[in-house]
Subunit: 190 residues, 2 copies
């Protein structure tokens, strides 16, 4: 029991370090050595905890999904109206301004990278995207019951992904500010 617990802790250290690493490095350019260095676990020992690199990615995505679900249920509990929750969502890139400009949206960039050649990995990574999508659909259903919540949720994701992508390419924080403001106006006009 104790031993098992300790193993789980080490795994979590690896996962957290890799999660962090994945923000500024692409998955395919990220080596076992990079992970070993970042997590301060001896290079060879990684292979005991995770057989393959893909296994680590799997664990990282599971961890991220868990974190995202926690954040969203916190919002559900602490923010009263669906409109304000949606506004809060729209502001994510604003709060992560520096990261977005330097590394893009962590979910979007990972999905795009894996989507190009590794369909199995893409499906895994897509889970992160779907957590947001389902939550958005719920919020829009509550916010404007008569309208097509699915379509509105997708539109929200489109604008959020788009502004992150363009701000990253142009390395321009102003784009985030302007575009988030535009999303807020759109939400309030619904």
């Amino acid at each position: 029991m104790r031993a098992r617990e300790k193993t789980e802790q080490i795994k979590l250290v690896i996962v957290k370090a890799t999660d962090e690493l994945l923000y500024h490095k692409s998955y395919n350019l990220m080596s076992f050595s990079d992970i070993a260095e970042a997590s301060d676990i001896p290079r060879g020992n990684l292979n005991y905890h995770f057989k393959t690199k893909d296994d680590i990615l799997l664990a990282v995505v599971a961890y991220r999904v868990q974190q995202m679900n926690k954040m969203l249920s916190d919002w559900d509990a602490s923010i009263n109206s669906p409109l304000e929750r949606l506004l809060r969502f729209a502001q994510i890139p604003l709060n992560e301004k520096n990261n977005v400009v330097q590394h893009g949206c962590p979910i979007g960039t990972l999905n795009q990278e894996l989507g190009k050649v590794q369909p199995e990995l893409k499906a895994i990574s897509k889970q992160q995207f779907d957590v947001f999508k389902q939550w958005l659909i719920k919020q829009f259903s509550d916010f404007v019951p008569g309208q097509d919540a699915q379509k509105l949720a997708v539109h929200m994701l489109v604008r959020s992904q788009g502004l992150s992508a363009v701000a990253f390419i142009e390395e321009d924080k102003k784009i985030i500010e302007t575009e988030v403001k535009a999303i807020e106006q759109w939400l309030k006009s619904l």
Copy 2:
């Protein structure tokens, strides 16, 4: 002279094949062998024409920029109003529906991939993006002289990049149709 010309032709064959390859394969996962196979040039000979892989990328981007400029000046010549030119631009993802859903926007995905770790290459790839941006600014200046053309151009790019990214992740052509329609409405309302 003759010899030089022939060399240039071979280079173009390599560049075109790599351009094509880059639509479905990420740059970092693309090997010289892949390029050799795609262009039907013996593996070792590639290194005579291009010293490094980055040199090939450089040539591919230059080629793409040239093609894009050609397309845009064709539009300038054949399409009368700036609004119709902008509508034509908005429809690019619609005409490339299958490619977008399978591989994403070729410009956006390349920029995002290179942006994460290779700043020198990112700057090169960004040229493609800027060709579109400058052209859009010109069109918006002509279309709605009083308004902030730069801001409108960026917004157009945001929506275009966003819809490509989300349609790619979700592998859903309907998203392209719906979102392009929304862009058209927005343009007509300006």
